[in-house]
Symmetry: C2
């Protein structure tokens, strides 16, 4: 449900840099004019630049470049994803917070979003660089699938990220199995899927997505400059982070609904179309050994199929891929 | 590490109903005689019946029938399992508590044990009847296996329970896929495996085991009398719950070490030998449908293989089995 403050903000946004009279706002929202004035004051304190004129009313000149819940919800087209939002200026890890909330019973679609993470995590306890200017959020899901099918969520997230990036930038990105989204061979999106389950029933999944959106080249630590890039660097200008997050939530929800309706094959087909490695030679490093060969397929459960030089077929559930393309 | 109180208790136990002189105890443990006396007083308050004589020393007449950590650790033959114990007279759920501890970093083998659970859980949010007289504990594991192999932990637990019950009672129990241990067709042990994972890496597993040990027939709620029984009912006398828990922890540790050494095939073979359903006709109720046919095998990942009347083979990852034997 929209708060009164959010309703005033949306009215100002909808006016598209024209004045909205305080009297109209008060009447529409059944408030006193001084109550309207108070909410506007709060918005100003949050960083909104709003001009007031006793004759003309209020005009929204600019919004802060923050992932504020009201900003995200404005024009958000989803039904459930991102309807409940927990927002943080700074947090250790959105995934860790989302797990806490999921344990406490938070519903499907609940979003945890932060401007920056101080302890952002990738797969296998690796660090994820997560400064202001990026997008990082975690979504709580309660899918009706087997824990054995969990990789489908990761693949679905990769496909959704590719679609959202194409929509906002026109760029075609690629997916490196299992979960990196690349542009020009460099990482732009990272995905971390975690879950709490019984042997055969999922209690909840936390899907964490990090996007290198408006991070400047100089801001990347030396060690990441070879392997990572950002949309800002690729496009030569900033993207609207709120719009990108909104597109992504919509794509995630649409694809997730397909998954829940037992229609994973379409998603898998999209994944394969965007694959950076299928058909190419790869080395896959798994626990205790490395497998080299041609990446020939990804199966219905998300495992990578590699054909080795001896002609044998290996089904790989977990590992790191180095493209030898 | 053993506490001084535990060292005194073990010395009294080892004396097997003979007096131990206070002076000997004091000397061996480098304590004053009054310090020994203080520890003995604490033991008495915990329910130990100890006779004191100024001339002869101390004699342990009886121990309380509780799963106290000192009782469990006495003669425990494991290396890691049950070395750290969190004990509760009453708790909502040992699995829930163990998950909390695992999240906070508790090490492999940490045990949560309670005399009774007020909200004991079985698979799929079902209730697990867990009064005083039963055994209920949860073990924290951090296995180096894929989340896709998690059912192996459940099968391993079933095998270990069968072995421990045979050792204490001579009774051969049977396992109904996936996780019920039965005697005479009635449930004696329940197993609940929960885990927290990434898509391809396990963070931790909590293995919960409930045993209907010394529960009296009259104590079972009406609704369970058809389907459940206890060792007390079957044997016509009480079992030593501490000894049974000790046997079980030892079997669990041995079998788990086998699993970690990539030797699951022996465990699977034991499981099949104890199976209540392989070779027999079953109906398996899964989400949305029921499958009827002959249970022909359990595969390496723990899935049940059923041959239907049409001759087709179904691989079932999750469901409830009704034996039509």
């Amino acid at each position: 449900m929209m708060s009164t403050k959010e309703a005033i903000l949306f009215a100002l946004k909808n006016a598209e840099k024209k004045y909205v009279s305080g009297e109209d706002l008060a009447r529409k929202l059944s408030l006193s004019r001084s109550a309207v004035w108070k909410h506007v004051s709060v918005l100003k304190r949050e960083g909104y630049e709003i001009e007031s004129s006793s004759r003309l009313g209020y005009l929204l000149k600019s919004s802060p470049d923050l992932m504020l819940p009201s900003e995200l919800r404005y024009k958000l087209e989803t039904k459930a994803f991102g309807r409940a939002i927990h927002y943080f200026k700074e947090i250790e890890s959105t995934n860790t917070k989302a797990k806490e909330l999921a344990y406490a019973g938070a519903s499907e679609g609940t979003l945890v979003i932060a401007e920056r993470q101080t302890g952002g995590r990738g797969r296998r306890e690796r660090e994820w660089f997560s400064p202001y200017g990026g997008i990082c959020f975690s979504l709580i899901l309660r899918p009706q699938i087997s824990p054995l099918e969990i990789s489908r969520i990761t693949l679905l997230a990769g496909v959704s990220a590719v679609q959202a990036i194409e929509k906002i930038s026109g760029f075609e990105s690629e997916i490196k199995w299992p979960n990196d989204v690349l542009v020009n061979g460099k990482k732009v999106v990272g995905i971390l899927t975690e879950m709490e389950t019984e042997a055969d029933t999922i209690h909840f999944v936390v899907l964490g997505i990090g996007i290198n959106a408006n991070i400047e080249a100089a801001d990347f630590p030396q060690g990441l400059r070879e392997s990572a890039t950002s949309l800002r660097i690729i496009l030569g200008k900033k993207v609207d982070r709120r719009q990108l997050a909104g597109y992504l939530l919509k794509k995630l929800e649409d694809n997730y609904n397909q998954l829940e309706n037992n229609n994973f094959s379409d998603i898998l087909r999209s994944w394969k179309r965007s694959s950076a490695i299928l058909g190419f030679r790869v080395r896959v490093e798994t626990v205790g050994r490395a497998i080299e060969g041609k990446a020939v397929d990804v199966n219905d459960q998300g495992a990578l199929i590699v054909e080795t030089d001896s002609g044998a077929t290996e089904t790989i559930w977990s590992g790191d891929v180095v493209s030898l393309r």
